[in-house]
Amino acid sequence: MMTNSDLTRRELLERAAVTGGALTVGQLFPGAAPLAAAQSADVAPAPLDVRLRINGSEHRLTLDPRTTLLDALREHLHLTGSKKGCGLGQCGACTVMMDGKRVKSCLSLAALVEGREITTIEGLAQGERLHPLQAAFIERDAFQCGYCTPGQIMAGVACIAEGHAGSPEEIRAWMSGNLCRCGAYDHIVAAIQDVATATGSSGGG
């Protein structure tokens, strides 16, 4: 029988991914007994065949029904650009486009987004040519650690397309679903404003 010490880091992360990271929490805080007990009783449910359209390509996956879209992207398709911050819809690091609209991929079950057109940060550039907002983030130094950056850029692209980038105040309000623990907000707002101004999408609101 395999013990926890035999698990590789990747296996541990994959198991934790399916169960929302509770495995790690249970080990760090032995006092969190109810969660740990719930965890040990888990038996994997029957897997589902799921077809996902990601960045223009169709993928066939066999997934535990608990798999979120974010975990499908990261753990099964190895598109690790979308980041897992909180797993609860609070931080925005997992932001992707679904049918052209920004969503939090950690709050959707993968099996329930079949037929939807998903675009991730990996699908934003045209070959080697960066999306204007990717270039603006570099130009404006709009990040420090970079963990929130893919989500910020995906949300920023949507913010501009929606016409919600008319002023720094409007950008801040419409980017409030994306947190940056480094506090790069001023530069993020500047980068979004640059692109909105350049593309003439700063009106509306």
Binding site: A38, A41, G87, G92, M98, K104, L107, L112, S176, G177
Partner: protein
């Protein structure tokens, strides 16, 4: 997440039949639509259904506006309703309450039906590390009474639960006499939103009058001249992406500088969206003079009870009413 079987039925009738097999309380089967609240509840083991029944693609997603009023299919998203030109023009309080809710991403995912059925943000309900929560585990006690209760309700509470209802748009809808069309295996019925939510009393885990398996199919809002002159004020700890400490939805019909008819409902302070008819009666016939508004707003405190950290809400909700009436009055 606790393991579950995911059902993706072909049509609503099949979904209703699947879900009806389960009981009302700690149901072994639950619905999922937009998923923005349900996935959080699953991730944190607050809900542990054995079977999850998807409503994706099965519910009406149309927005209809006519002389009778507004009809919102349950599957319309918060973003779609907030941006609809006729909603913005004729029912601004609905659009404002939605835009003051959640984040742009969540508003693109969350359905209107699901918004009305979202669970409370009481931190003790959301954290299974606390054994005592009558809403999550019936008869286990209440950790919020005597605990950290700055966010909790001051109206409609019981000795078993003081959790505040979290929806913003439900407050606007209650002010406008909205109703929900409920569908179940047995047929369809319409329920006024004020009667849809139950007070916690002795059974805080039963939050609505929905029978096992029933869904919200649509939301209807009757036409009303006051709806055009409406406004939503939300007071919270951050300027955006935060739940209400206190909110007020106000709709006014004005006649020569005087209020002919007022609709007022409060959020963040009640165990359900809280209509205040006594304030409405006091506002009828009043001018927009500040002293008259303040005097009417004091009536909202009738029956209010603080639990320590949330005592401030009793005065704050009166001030929110005054602010909302002043702004709605300019529009009306």
């Amino acid at each position: 997440m606790h393991p579950f079987t995911l059902e993706r039925p072909r049509d609503l009738a099949a979904a209703l039949a699947l879900r009806a097999q389960a009981g009302r309380n700690d149901a072994p089967a639950e619905y999922i639509a937009g998923g923005t609240d349900m996935v959080q509840l699953l991730q944190e083991y607050v809900r542990r259904p054995e079977r999850l029944v998807s409503l994706a693609g099965l519910l009406d997603n149309r927005i209809d506006v006519g002389p009778q009023g507004l009809r919102l299919g349950a599957a319309t998203t918060m973003a779609e309703v907030a941006a609809h030109p006729a909603v913005v023009e004729r029912f601004p309080v609905i659009s404002e309450a939605l835009l003051e809710s959640a984040s742009p991403q969540v508003r693109n995912q969350a359905t209107m039906g699901g918004n009305l059925l979202q669970r409370t943000r009481c931190p003790y309900f959301r954290d299974v590390g606390y054994a005592a929560c009558n809403k999550r585990a019936p008869s286990s006690g209440c950790s919020a009474i005597g605990g950290e209760n700055r966010w909790h309700a001051v109206l409609g509470t019981s000795e078993n639960c003081i959790a505040a209802h979290a929806s913003d748009v439900a407050v606007a809808l209650v002010a406008l006499d909205a109703a929900v069309e409920v569908r179940g295996a047995g047929g369809q019925r319409s329920v006024p939103l004020t009667d849809f939510y139950r007070l916690p009393d002795a059974a805080p885990h039963i939050e609505t009058v929905l029978e096992p398996g029933e869904v919200i199919a649509a939301i209807t809002v009757p036409a009303n001249p006051a709806a055009r002159g409406s406004h939503y004020v939300k007071v919270r700890d951050r300027a955006s992406f935060e739940f209400a400490l206190v909110s007020a939805a106000v709709a006014l019909d004005m006649d020569a500088g005087r209020i002919r008819q007022a609709r007022v409902a409060l959020g963040g302070v009640g165990t359900k969206p809280w209509r205040v008819p006594q304030v409405e009666a006091a506002l009828a016939g009043a001018s927009l003079e500040p002293a008259a508004l303040r005097s009417a707003a004091t009536l909202a405190a009738e029956g209010a009870q603080g639990y320590g950290h949330n005592d401030f809400k009793i005065e704050l909700m009166q001030r929110a009413i005054v602010r909302a009436v002043e702004i709605a009055g300019v529009r009306a």
